[in-house]
Symmetry: C2
């Protein structure tokens, strides 16, 4: 499934779950997303588990979604497909 | 706060949130815990976010807690304090 908009504690977030082959690959993808986040100083929540990574993007400052979150979602997809 | 036992989807889990200084340090700690998990082939859920890492240990196979989970919780603490 693609990105969906979910509401968490009253704030809209972009959320997508990525399937990976095992834990090591999920950890490696977590690091790729983390490195992207550090590059732009905008940080998601990343849930790392066996064979699966779930990424949440939103903008704490505005308690919801900003254009940047959609850009980061697209860059996360690129990192996944790279 | 220390480890607490929480129930998620009807299964008991050990859960603890660790405070870190920023995202990069949270990511580094996530990797330390991930590496521990790979060593023993027992995998937690790790929630990585800015300045914070939440770790959940439980045994999927038995739908709950096994001695190993308590051992891994202790090793997670050691990794945090190292």
């Amino acid at each position: 499934p693609d990105w969906e908009i979910v509401e968490v504690d009253g704030e809209e977030q972009l959320k997508r779950t990525f399937k990976l082959k095992n834990f090591a690959q999920a950890q490696a993808f977590t690091n790729r997303v983390g490195d992207l986040a550090e590059e732009v100083d905008h940080h998601p929540v990343i849930v790392l588990e066996y064979g699966k990574v779930t990424v949440h993007w939103w903008s704490h400052e505005i308690h919801g979604l900003h254009k940047n979150d959609f850009i980061m979602a697209a860059r996360t997809d690129e990192a996944f497909n790279a």
